[in-house]
Symmetry: C4
Subunit: 289 residues, 4 copies
C-alpha cells in the first residue's frame, strides 16, 4: 500500500493560466517544497488562532488583553480571508469548492469576525472560529499520515454494520434502563423524568459516572449494579469488533495484489503456487517468492 495523492475534482487546477496552476500546486498540493511550507505556515496560523479563541474565553485574560486579542484575531481573519480568495482564484470550479465540506469550514472560520462588525451584540459567534481546527485534517490528508488514517477508517467502515447493530442494542438498553430507574427511584433521587434517567443510564453505561444522579434505594442500587456490569461487559464488544477488523484489514497485506494471468482473479495468498480459481501456475509472477 503506497500513499495515494488523489486530487479531487473540487481542488482541480489543471488547464488554468500558468500562475494559477502554480498557485494551486502551492495551496492545495504538498508535493513541492513551496506546497509543504505553505501547509506548515497554515498549521501554525490555525493553531495560534485557535489558541487565541480559547484564551479569549478566560474572563481574566479577556479583561486585561481585550484589545491585543482583538487585533490578533483581525490579523488572522485577514490572512485567512486572503487565503480564501486565493483558493477561489486557483480552482477550476470555484462554486464546487465553496459548497464542499472544507469550503464551508474555510468560510465559517472567517465569517464570525465580519458578522461581529455588522451585529456587534451577537455573542458566541467567535466560538465558531474554533472549527478552524478541522482545516488541519485537509493537510493531514495529503501527508504521509494518509495511509494510517485510511487504515483506521477502512476498519471503521468495514465494521459499520456490526457497530450499528451494537449501537441500537445500547440505545434499547439505555431507554429501558432509564425507564426502569425512573419507576424505581423516582423524583426524590433526581430521576425526574425518563430523559433525565436516560442521561443517567448513558453516564453509567459508558462508565463515566459523574455522581450528580445516583441511586439511593436498595432496589435502585441492585438494578444499577446489573446495568453497570452489563455496561462493563459491552465495553468488550466495540473493542472486539474494531480490533478484529483492524487485524483483518492490516493483515490483508498477506494477500497478493497481482491478478492470475489466466483468469484475472485476485486475492491469492502470497504463498500460493497455483491460482485457487483456475489452477493456473502462479510461480512465474514477478511478486512470487
Amino acid at each position: 500500500m503506497k500513499p495515494i495523492y488523489r486530487k479531487s475534482v473540487i481542488n482541480e487546477g489543471h488547464g488554468l493560466a500558468p500562475w494559477r496552476e502554480k498557485l494551486n500546486e502551492v495551496i492545495f498540493g504538498s508535493e513541492t517544497a513551496a506546497g509543504r511550507n505553505f501547509d506548515l505556515v497554515l498549521i501554525v496560523l490555525i493553531a495560534l488562532s485557535t489558541l487565541v479563541v480559547i484564551v479569549d474565553s478566560v474572563e481574566d485574560f479577556h479583561d486585561r488583553h481585550a484589545k491585543f486579542l482583538d487585533r490578533l484575531e483581525w490579523l488572522f481573519t485577514l490572512l485567512f480571508s486572503l487565503e480564501y480568495v486565493l483558493r477561489l482564484l486557483c480552482v477550476r470550479h470555484p462554486w464546487l469548492y465553496i459548497r464542499s465540506f472544507y469550503g464551508i469550514v474555510d468560510l465559517l472560520s472567517i465569517l464570525p469576525s465580519y458578522i461581529g462588525l455588522v451585529l456587534p451584540g451577537v455573542q458566541y459567534t467567535s466560538v465558531v472560529r474554533i472549527l478552524r481546527l478541522l482545516r488541519i485534517f485537509r493537510i493531514l490528508k495529503l501527508s504521509v499520515y494518509l495511509n494510517e488514517a485510511n487504515l483506521l477508517k477502512t476498519a471503521l467502515y468495514n465494521s459499520r454494520k456490526k457497530i450499528l447493530v451494537f449501537l441500537y442494542t445500547v440505545l434499547t438498553l439505555v431507554v429501558i434502563s432509564g425507564a426502569l430507574m425512573y419507576v424505581i427511584e423516582g423524583k426524590a433521587a433526581g430521576y425526574t423524568s425518563i430523559p433525565v434517567s436516560m442521561y443517567w443510564a448513558i453516564v453509567t453505561l459508558t462508565t463515566v459516572g459523574y455522581g450528580d444522579i445516583a441511586p439511593q434505594t436498595p432496589l435502585g442500587q441492585i438494578t444499577a449494579s446489573f446495568i453497570m456490569v452489563m455496561g462493563y461487559g459491552i465495553i468488550a464488544v466495540p473493542t472486539g469488533i474494531y480490533g478484529a477488523e483492524l487485524i483483518k484489514t492490516a493483515g490483508q497485506t498477506n494477500f497478493s495484489n497481482e491478478p492470475c494471468p489466466d483468469c484475472g482473479s485476485i486475492g491469492h495468498d502470497v504463498d500460493a503456487n497455483y491460482c485457487k480459481h483456475c489452477g493456473h501456475n502462479l510461480s512465474d509472477l514477478p511478486s512470487h517468492h
Copy 2:
C-alpha cells in the same frame, strides 16, 4: 455466508386462505416490497410512540400537552391493536404466536392503555409501553443485519463458559471487597452494610465511580486502590475473551477444513477451486459450494 430467511413455525402462514397467506407475507416477511414497506412504517410508528412515552414523563411537557399526548397514545394503541389482530389472523398457530417472546412483547405494548381505562389510578403502566422498542429487533432479524448480529451472538455464545468463569471470579471479588471495606471503613464513611459495600465495589470495579460513597481512612484508601487496579486489570479479560472469539469466529468462515485429495494439504479458502500447493482440482470435494 448468505442471509438466511428462516421462517419459524410460530410465524408460519402456509396452507391458509390466499388472502391470509398474502397478509402473512406482508406482516411477517421482508422479501416483498409490501413487506419491506410495512416494516418501515412499523419502525417509524414504534419510534414515534416510544418518543411519546419518553416525552410524556417530563412534567413540564405533560402539564402543557397532556390531552394531545393522550390522544396520540390512543392512536398508536389502536394501530398496534389492529396489527396484533391481523398477526393473529394470518398465522396457522395463533396460540403458539401469543405465547412466543415477540407475541408477549406485542401484547405488552398495547395492554397498558386498556388497563389504564379499567384501573385509572395505577401509575407507571404507561412505562411498560417502552418495551415496544424490543419489537424492532424482530424486524432487524429479517434484514441484512442478520449476519452481523449472528456473528456477534455466535462469538458471545462460544465464549459463554469463559465469561461465566470470569463472572463468578468477579462476583467473589465483589463480595470479598465489599465485606473488607465494610469492616475497614464502617458506617461513618457510608459503608452501612455489606450489600451497600458490594454496591460500592461494583461501582468501583466497573470504573464507574459515582463518588456517593468513597473511602476516607488511609487503610480504606489503600484497599480501594488495590481493588481499582484489579478492576482496571480485569477489563482486559472480557475484552480479550470476546475479541479472541470474534477473530476466531469471523475467521472460521474463510478456511475449509477438508484436505486436498492429492497432496493432503489443508487450510484452503472456502472459495478455492484448485489446491494452492499442488494445483489439484478441488471442485469434487463434498463441502464445495
Copy 3:
C-alpha cells in the same frame, strides 16, 4: 485439550479402608453421581450461608431477625464442621490437608462461630465466614469449566512478565503524578500528602474518578488532563497484552500434539508433511489428515 482429573497428593485417599476410600470419592471427587450430588449440595449450602452473612450486616434486618439468623448460622457451622471432620477422616495425610490452601479456607469458614462463643465481644469475626465463597472454586476446578479457567490462567501466566513491566511503569506514574499534584494543588484542594495524592492518581488513572478530590487550579487541571489521557492510553496495554496472549494460547490447538516418530520433537503444524526438525515423513501419523 481434554479435562484432566488430577488428584493431588493432598486429597489422596487410596490405600485407606474401603469406606474411607468410598467417602473420599464422594467428598473430593466428581466422577460418581454421589460425588456430583455432594458438590451440588455443598454449592447451595455455601451460597446460602454467604447470603446469611451478607443479609445479617443490614442493621434493619439484623434487628428483626437476629435470633433466626443466628440459628441458621449455627446450622451451617455444624454442617461445615461435620464436613471438615469427614474430610480429615478420608485423606491419607490429614496434616497435609489442614495446611493446604483449601484446608485453611475450610477451617476459616467454621472457626469464627466457635471463637464467638469464647470471646463474645470480638466484632467482625463473622465477616471472615464470607471466605467460604472461595471454596466453590475447588468444586469448579473439578468440573467441565476446568479447561476454560485453565486457558484464562495460562494466558495470564504467559503474559506475567509483560504485566509486571507494565505494573511497575504504572506504579512509577502513580508516584510521580501524585508527587506532582501534591506540589501543584497542595492542601487547599484536598491533596494533603503524597499518599493521598497517589490515591487520587490511582482513582484517575483507572478512570474510576470519584470526584472526592479534584484539581482546582488551572495548572492542576492541565496536569490532570495529561495524566487522564495517559491513563486512557494505557488501558490499551493490558488489554492488548492479555488479548494477544489469549489468541496465541487458544491458537495452540493448531499445533499437533504428536511427537515425530524419528526424533521425538513435538509442536508441528497440523498441516506439516515432514518433521521440521529432522525431515522425517509425518504422513503416516494417525492424526495426520
Copy 4:
C-alpha cells in the same frame, strides 16, 4: 529472541585500570554475581528512600518523626552520592555519563539535599527525590525483563503514526466539545471558560467523570450524552491499534520470511530445519540460526 546485553558507549569501561574495569562490571553490569547483588541492594535502597519521601509528606508522621526521617534521608543521600562518584570513576567518558538521561536522574536524586543545606527555605525540593524511582528502569533494562519491555515498546513505536492521527482527532474533539458546552451550559453550571470546558471534555471522554462539573440543562445533557458515547466508542481505537500491533510484533519473531529453496513455500517456523511441505533441508539458509 535471546536477551541482549548491549553496553552503551556511555557506560563503557573497557581499557581502564583493572580495578576500575572491575568496578564498572559490578556497577553497570548484571552478568556477574557481584553485579546482580549490587543491583538488588540498589533497588532496595531506592525503594526505601522513595518510601521515606512519601511518608515524610504526611503531616502527622512528619511532626512526630522529623528528625529520624531527616537522618535517614541524609544516609540515603550520602550512599547515592558515593555511588555517583564511583560511577564517574569507572566510565571512560564521565562527561558523556553526566549529560546522559540516567546521569541527570542520578544527579537529581542527590542534589535536593545539598540545595536544602544552602537554601533551607526552599520548599518541595525534597519531592524531586522521588525521581529516583526512574533509576530502577536502568536496572530492569539489564535484566531478563528486557525482551518483554522491548516488545511493548516496539509495538508502541510501530503504531506511533496511527496513535498520532488518533490523538489529533481526540484533541479536535476535546476543543470542539469544550467550546460547544461552554456556549450551551455557560458559567452557571461551572463551564466558566473554554479551557475549563476542555478540561471537562477530557474528564468525560476518558470516562473518568469526577462530577465536579456536570451539565445541568437538557440540551447540555443531550450534548454530553453524545460526547460520552463517542468517548466510549473511541476507547476501542487505541486498544485495537495497540492490540493488533502487539499480535503482529509478537508473531513476527516466529515465522521466517525465507522461502524453501526447493519448493518455494514460505511461512516456516524460525526453528525449522526442514521444509514442512517438501522436506528439503533448510539448514543452509543464511537466516538459519
